[in-house]
Amino acid sequence: MKKRATLGFEESKAVFGLLRAEQRPLEEIVSDFNSFFSHGRQFIPCFSISILLQDKKMLSSTQRLIAFAILQQAYSSQKPSANPFISLLINAACDVEAEKYERALILQLLQLFGSDGSSGGKELLKQSAADYIKSFDPSVHAFPQHEQLQQQYADKVHPERYNSPLKDSSVRNVVADPDVPCGFDVNSSEFDVQPGANPKLGSGDRDETVLGLLSNLALEGLGPHWKRPIPPRLPVQDDELVWLNPVDNHELLWDDGMCVDTSRGAAVRDLIAKALKGPLAPAQQEQVLLELANDPKLVYHCGLTPRKLPELVENNPLIAVEVLTKLINSPEIAEYFTVLVNMDMSLHSMEVVNRLTTAVELPSEFIHMYITNCISSCENIKDKYMQNRLVRLVCVFLQSLIRNNIINVKDLFIEVQAFCIEFSRIREAAALFRLLKSLE
């Protein structure tokens, strides 16, 4: 439950009852109060009482005395400076307009802070409020100055509880709004309720007001108000409301692959396995190509893996091209390309790449890397004859790539130009060089 900042009905009644007990000893009233409000809960009733005290007419003289006693005694176990109402007590003690007995009582109460349960203090609290007023002798009391009391009891002002300025500067949220006929004196006692008499216009019962205030005074006073606009509701968004359309009845699929003839593609698997070892006979090659063409998914089941690709390229480049073309959309194609780039340069690998470039769109990084490999292979080869052969091949390959717009010459210009110059003795290199120049 929410912690209420006001007194409940029962609590208000209890507090009011205590305030009216002018014949009971103060001691008893205070102990009743403490038993009713556990420690830590006493602030709210004390606060309400303190508000009531601020309007001098609101409480009768005995009620005021009881109220002050409660305010002081509720916090008697702590240092005077820890009492939240200490300044109210001090101010009241120094209020020259107040009744002397009231000031005297407060002074005596304040002295109780110092005297730790001494007999003098006990004596004071054994009296009832009515008795105190009756036996009051103004001559025995001296009234010290405000500063003196301030120094004595509230020198170490306890740090203010954190609060916002909106609340700090709050004022009492009670305004007197006397409802009396025009021209009459509000303070006139004729408007008090006369027992037995008919209530007349403008009359009111003070006790009722006290009780009402007790139960309605909130801790917080009235502060300046901040306008906090509630944010607007977001207008309905364009596709926010759900528009319904009939959907497809996506049905569950029977798995057709159950117990099927798994010999699907067995022949091709066998042939591919053979193709890794050596060139296939033309008829066998034809068969592989035909079966792959007939069943586009067969390529995924023909037993080829990236690791085995180099063997296939060397022995049966045409089949390799066919397989790679069909795998171009598979998630594994990158792996195949990596293997292809890194295998030893040869006529067959170059042919495979060349045919692939015309058949499918290859990633340009792949082509560039492949060309770089080609060029460095040419440079590193020892055998002059083989070198010439390879250079001629690379030149033809590059010309083909350039003419077919497979590569953008600019990307590789320097590299290729250097290659042409190095091997300018070879006719194809010179031709490639001229081609490059013509494109410049």
């Binding site: 009492r172 009722e208 205030l213 509701r233 409301l241």
Partner: protein
């Protein structure tokens, strides 16, 4: 040979060509049983089907595919009543298949190492990362996605089916087509334009190739209702020319010095891809099936295209394509096309036409259809601002749904046709519009089972809380729209006690954990804490969808949990990197498109390919989504700042208000809210000077304050509304068909009222700094605009009291019409 057969036994797989003849005999018997099981399944005799399957299982005791089909048959036999149970079976099958495939692959690897020199063709099973036939999980995975789809778990379905589409290479045509169609539906349901676009382009390419040769054979689709297996609309193609480059030249051709032969090798890229899906092989296999399904599929594709265009709000093109769809559907079932046409008119704001089309679209005796039509009519009336009519339609739609649940024998479709959770969301919106936050919240709570990953849902939930607060329906708060004054005592002792609004909301955040969402009666318990939680959920989801799509990672039972969503979900999302945001996808696509982007005019589009159309739409949609998300973010931050203020967390409120103010292209309304919230938070933090800075932005000189925003800003806020595509491209702005005849105004302060709020706040600011004269002037200006504002009145009363003018204070209190004088509720009689 022996080693090979023994190794294959352990993994229960095929024996290849090495199998002995008796194995072969066993296999053929098994195949016969499998064939029989399929036939029984197709004719709906599930008991016989299961008998046949158990025979299969005797021969191949560990075959996951048999378990898969058994699961399916049992599911149908039991009347489709336990989809979750089937999900368990399928997930189990999938797991087992993967294990077997791994084991088999490892075995093959080791086998080939040992017997590597064997020249025979029986080298066990060559390893490939692609699953082998026997252990592939495509069908099981697809079925899992299908079930999620029917259960309205679109995000989950998407996460399952999307990888299948990406790796569609090895998947057979029938399954692949089913995958595509499912992904289209799921993508559209998730509002995921990018994924739908991918499939659309892919299918269109495939279909485009085939329909050139196929033509319209005119036969209608004869569906067999008893057949629970989807038809296999395989597509024909004559693209065998695409099988590869010309390889007839000799391998030694490179050696020749002639290079010219390479020049001619031009290859048409476009036909390479479709062959992956559509093989000429199919043509020979099922010649009948194709002609049946071709038109059917063509219409279907066209309808998907329209739905995609509607999703991306490319209304101009949608109009064109829906016409095309009507043409294809002529003489056949055109109800779907009509419904889409109605949706188009709805999106264009032609509500009357939309209603007419809906009424004409179908026989309304079918509860399934009439529930949809009722719902759609409800949407239209909502947009017309006729909320009560809308509520009648929504509740009719819900009634239709519940009758659907009762009457029909269950099948899987029943689940997806029960759209009640979707309709309930609409209902919630309608309640919210009618100012019934508790009912609305109840709706959103239910709809949350489907929409839990949409930021908007959470915003709406928070709006319910705020509305409840505004209406004084929250347990812990009181209505803030009026000043409450307690009249205590009477006669000369009469006193007035003013309730202080600043403190009235205190402590509303002190709800204990665990029952944040639901009270003891399982109804949502609206509170400011709940609002805060909802808003942070929404912000989290929004940020997610901006950086990457994370739609599939939230637990669907989230409503029953109350812990920090952020932590839970972020850990689940972190491994979800392969989803791209719309922006990056769209921009990547635009690169390929070159200059013919959204600047191209409409005529150019007409001739354009589907790919261009789709890409243009994507770009346009990404732009719309950006704007919408930005607006959503403003709303979320403004709401959150407000809620934090309500919960007395000025620090958080301040930082949120600041990030609101930092948003680019922020609406002036939200900037105003940002400044006001930030200023209040700073006041609460004892930083009146900084607070003043925020308010000062509106001070034009002296004590004059500018209007913080204009009417146009309010109008702008309500409409990032659909604008026809052509107009966006600089077409004639005069024919603004989208400007709705009926505008749904936003409920917010008028500019003058906002100005008055600023005056009040200036007054409060000066008052708390003790500058009472200044405060008095400002509050007087506020009262001249809004004489009945509770805040202005209370601040004025405060200033008067502070100045000791209690009579003036009383006069002001009594003038304000929004002061409620309440009896104290206590009399002495009762007390004594």
């Amino acid at each position: 040979m022996a080693s090979s057969s023994s190794s294959s036994l352990t993994v229960a797989n095929r024996d290849g060509s090495s199998s002995a003849s008796e194995d072969e005999a066993v296999m053929s018997v098994t195949r016969a049983y499998a064939q029989d099981a399929l036939l029984q399944f197709q004719s709906g005799k599930f008991d016989q089907c299961l008998t046949a399957l158990s025979e299969c299982l005797k021969m191949k005791p560990n075959d996951p595919k048999i378990f898969h089909n058994i699961g399916l048959a049992e599911f149908y036999r039991d009347g489709c009543s336990h989809p979750k149970r089937l999900l368990d079976v399928l997930n189990d099958v999938k797991k087992r298949s993967e294990e077997l495939a791994r084991a088999s692959a490892e075995q093959a690897e080791s086998g080939s190492n040992i017997g590597g020199s064997r020249g025979s063709s029986t080298m066990g099973h060559p390893f490939s990362a692609v699953y082998m036939d026997e252990f592939d999980t495509y069908v099981a995975t697809l079925n899992i996605a299908v079930i999620w789809f029917h259960l309205h778990e679109y995000a989950k379905a998407l996460s399952v089916v999307e990888p299948l589409f990406q790796n569609r290479g090895p998947i057979d045509e029938k399954t692949a087509l089913n995958i595509c169609l499912l992904l289209l539906d799921v993508g559209l349901a998730c509002h995921d334009a990018t994924k739908s676009a991918d499939v659309l382009v892919y299918l269109e390419k495939a279909f485009g190739v085939s329909c050139m040769n196929q033509g319209d054979s005119g036969s209608t689709l004869s569906q067999q209702p008893a057949n629970p297996v989807a038809k296999s609309p395989s597509l024909p193609t004559n693209s065998s020319a695409a099988d590869g480059p010309n390889l007839d030249s000799d391998a030694n051709a490179l050696e020749s010095e002639e290079t010219g032969e390479y020049d001619g090798a031009v290859f048409d890229m476009d036909v390479a891809q479709p062959t992956a899906l559509l093989s000429s092989n199919d043509l020979s296999r099922n010649p009948v099936d194709i002609s049946v399904s071709s038109v059917y599929l063509k219409l279907k594709m066209q309808l998907y295209k329209v739905r995609f265009l509607l999703l991306t709000r490319n209304l101009k093109q949608a109009k064109r394509e829906v016409k095309h769809a009507m043409n294809i559907a002529r003489g056949r079932d055109s109800s779907m096309a009509l419904l889409l046409k109605s949706q188009l008119e709805y999106a264009r704001g032609n509500y009357r036409k939309a209603i007419k089309l809906l009424m004409a679209s179908s026989n309304r005796t079918d509860a399934r259809i009439s529930s949809m039509i009722n719902n759609n009519l409800g949407c239209i009336y909502y947009q017309l601002g006729k909320y009560h009519t809308a509520s009648v339609f929504f509740s009719n739609a819900l009634l239709n749904c519940s009758s659907l649940r009762k009457d029909r024998p269950l099948n899987l479709l029943t689940f997806s046709q029960d759209n009640s959770l979707l309709i309930i969301y609409n209902s919630g919106m309608q309640y919210l519009a009618c100012g019934k936050p508790l009912l609305a919240a109840r709706c959103f709570q239910k709809a949350g089972l489907v929409f839990y990953n949409r930021p908007l849902l959470w915003l709406r939930f928070a709006e319910c809380c705020l509305m409840a607060l505004e209406k004084g329906l929250l347990e812990t708060t009181l209505a803030s729209s009026e000043v409450r004054v307690y009249v205590i005592g009477n006669g000369k002792w009469r006193q007035l006690v003013m309730e202080d609004g600043v403190s009235k909301n205190g402590n509303s955040g002190s709800l204990e954990r665990g029952d944040l969402f639901l009270g003891s009666d399982q109804q949502p318990k609206l509170s400011m804490s709940l609002a805060r939680q909802c808003l942070s959920n929404a912000l989290y989801l929004l940020n997610c969808s901006e950086s990457s799509y994370c739609k599939n990672s939230l637990p669907s039972n989230f409503f029953l949990e109350d812990n920090e969503l952020g932590e839970v979900a972020s850990s689940k999302n972190s491994n979800n990197k392969n989803f791209h945001s719309i922006d990056s996808e769209a921009s990547a696509l635009s690169v390929g498109l070159g200059q013919s982007g959204i600047n191209g005019d409409a005529k150019e589009q007409k001739a354009g390919t589907t790919q261009e159309l789709v890409q243009n739409s994507l770009l346009y949609y990404a732009d719309i989504r950006n704007k919408e998300n930005l607006l959503l973010k403003q709303a979320l931050l403004a709401n959150l700042a407000y809620v934090e203020l309500e919960l007395e967390n000025p620090m958080k409120a301040l930082s949120i208000a600041r990030s609101l103010l930092e948003l680019p292209e922020c609406s002036r309304i939200y900037i105003f809210l940002g400044h006001v919230y930030a200023a209040e938070a700073l006041c609460l933090l004892n930083r009146a000077k900084d607070a003043a800075d925020h308010l000062m932005t509106y001070l034009s000189g002296g004590n004059n304050v500018d209007l913080p925003f204009s009417e146009e800003d309010s109008e702008q806020l309500q409409g990032v509304r659909a604008v026809d595509y052509e107009e966006l491209n600089g077409g004639s702005m005069s024919a603004k068909s989208s400007s709705p005849e009926y505008t749904l105004g936003i409920v917010f302060l008028k500019p003058e009222e906002a100005l008055a709020s600023l005056y009040v706040n200036f007054a409060a600011l000066y008052a708390m700094q003790g500058e009472l004269d200044q405060a008095r002037q400002f509050v007087a200006q506020a009262l001249s605009i809004v004489p009945n504002s509770p805040e202005a009145t209370l601040t004025a009363v405060y200033v008067d009291l502070k100045l000791g003018k209690s009579q003036e204070a009383l006069a002001k209190l009594k003038q304000c019409s929004r002061v409620t004088f309440l009896p104290s509720g206590l009399t002495l009689n009762k007390a004594s």
